[in-house]
Symmetry: C2
Subunit: 267 residues, 2 copies
C-alpha cells in the first residue's frame, strides 16, 4: 500500500531531498531520477527504484501505475505526496509527476565487460553535467557500452546528469578510475584508445577503428593532458573550418562515435 | 578616457543589468557578452562592443588592453567598475574580467547571402539556450553561414546562448522568420532543405547533399511538425542503435553537418 506524506518536515522527505547533494548521494549510495519517460525507460531495462514518489490526489498515468505495481511487487516503497514536496525533492519548480530513488549504478572497472560493446567513451575530468548526460545519450544511440570516468569528473548521478542523459544512464555502464588504473586495466585486454587532439593533422576519417574502440574525450576547457595523448593508440583531429579551435566535448564525442559506427556499418 | 563606476545604483549599471531580460534586450537592440576569449574573438572579426566593462584596480590583460584601445578608437565607451558590479551585470558570481555590450546582430532574412556558405542551420522552435549556442559553435566548426531561427525560438542573444556559442555568435549570421516566410524565401534561390526524422528509413549517409544545404533541426521535445517534414526536399534518419529514439538537438545537428562536410571534403 502506498504511504502518504504531506509534511515538508517528514524525515523521509528530508533524506530524499538531501540526495541532491553529491556528498550525501555518495554516503547513501542512492540517486534520484525524475519523469515518467526516464523511469519507464529504466523499468523496461528491469531497473526499479527503491522508492517511488508520486503526486497525491490525481489518478496516475497508466505508465505510472505500471511503475507503482512493479515497485510494490519488488518490495520497494511507493510514496504519495504533494506537488510542492515533489518540487522540493527534485529541485525543480515544476516537478515532473514521478520521482524515483535508485541504488547507484557504478560498475567497478574490473567488472566491466569490454567485449560487450564495440564503442566505449572515456571522459577525462569532464566537469559539465549536461555534457556527461549528453555523452551517455550519444552512447546509447551508437550502441556504446558505457562511460568510464577518469580523474575528477562531475557526478554521473547528479539530477542534472540524469536529466540530460534522458534515461541513457540506465542503458550505459558507468565506471570510474584514476588514469593509471584505467590504463593498466585497458592494456590487460583488447581495445584501441583514441584521443581527439589539436596536436595532430591525422584526420579522424583516415584510420580504421578497431573494436572495442575507447574514445577519450578531454576536459571541456583544457583538452587532454600531453601524457594522456601520448598514451593513446591513435590521435586524430576533427576538421574545424571556422575560427574556433574546438567543439563542445559531447559534440566531439558524437562526431567521433558516429564515424566509428559508420565504419562498422559499412562492414 | 575610461569612466569609473563603483555604485550599484548608477543608472548605467541598472540599464546594463536589464539586458539580461529578453524584453529589454529587444527594446534596446543590445546584448551582453562576457569573457576575454569571446570578446577577443569578436574583435578579430572587426566587431566591437558599444560599451566595455572591466574590473577596476588591476592591470588589464594585454588582450583586454587591445579591446580598450579598439573600443576607444571606435568611439565606444570603456567603463571601469568593481568585480561585484561586474558579477551583477553578468549574473554570474565569478564574473569573467570583461563584459561587452554589443548592438544585436540579427540579419533580415532577405539580406542573407545563402551562397556565402555551403551549410546553414535552420532551428525550429529551439528552446534551450545551450543547444542554440552549441549549434552556432558547430556551425563555425563546419564552415556554416549561420542559423535561421524559425518559429518561437529561445533568444539568440541571451547571456546563456552567447556563452554556449563560445564566440561563434560573432562568426555566424543569425536570422529569424516564420515558417511560411522562410519557405517562401528559400524557394527564391538554390538550397536543399534537409530534415532529420524518425518517420523515414532513409539513412543520412545515403543521399548526396547539394549546396547550400539547409539542415532543419526540430524542437527538442517534439521534433518537426508533419507539414514541416513534408516541405523538406529530403528527410533522413540518423541511425540509433540503442533504446533512445532521438539525439539531443545540437548533437543531431553536428552529426548531420559533419556528414555534409565530409561529403564535400571527398569532393
Amino acid at each position: 500500500m502506498p504511504r502518504e506524506i504531506t509534511g515538508f518536515s517528514n524525515p523521509l522527505v528530508k533524506r530524499v531531498r538531501s540526495l541532491r547533494e553529491k556528498k550525501l548521494r555518495k554516503r547513501e549510495g542512492l540517486f534520484l531520477a525524475e519523469g515518467l519517460r526516464i523511469l519507464t525507460e529504466a523499468r523496461e531495462q528491469g531497473i526499479l527504484p527503491e522508492m517511488l514518489f508520486l503526486a497525491l490526489g490525481t489518478r496516475p498515468h497508466p505508465l505510472a501505475q505500471l511503475l507503482v505495481d512493479a515497485v510494490e511487487a519488488a518490495g520497494g516503497e511507493v510514496v504519495l505526496t504533494t506537488p510542492d514536496i515533489l518540487g522540493k525533492i527534485s529541485g525543480k519548480e515544476n516537478a515532473q509527476a514521478v520521482v524515483g530513488i535508485y541504488r547507484d549504478r557504478l560498475t567497478p572497472l574490473p567488472a566491466l565487460d569490454r567485449n560487450a560493446a564495440p564503442i566505449w567513451f572515456v571522459a577525462q575530468a569532464m566537469r559539465d553535467p549536461g555534457n556527461l548526460g549528453t555523452l551517455m545519450r550519444i552512447g546509447d544511440a551508437v550502441g556504446a557500452g558505457g562511460v568510464i570516468l577518469v580523474d575528477d569528473c562531475v557526478d554521473p548521478f547528479s539530477v542534472e546528469t540524469v536529466r540530460a542523459s534522458m534515461g541513457a544512464l540506465f542503458t550505459q555502464a558507468i565506471a570510474h578510475a584514476d588514469w593509471p588504473d584505467f590504463l593498466a586495466w585497458l592494456r590487460t585486454g583488447p581495445g584501441q584508445l583514441v584521443g581527439t587532439s589539436l596536436n595532430t593533422d591525422f584526420d579522424y576519417q583516415e584510420p580504421h577503428y578497431e573494436a572495442p574502440t575507447f574514445l577519450l574525450i578531454g576536459n571541456e576547457a583544457r583538452g587532454l593532458p600531453a601524457d594522456y595523448e601520448a598514451a593513446c593508440d591513435l590521435l586524430v583531429k576533427i576538421p574545424m573550418m571556422g575560427r574556433a579551435d574546438s567543439l563542445n566535448a559531447s559534440v566531439a564525442g558524437a562526431v567521433m562515435a558516429y564515424e566509428v559506427l559508420n565504419q562498422r556499418r559499412r562492414g
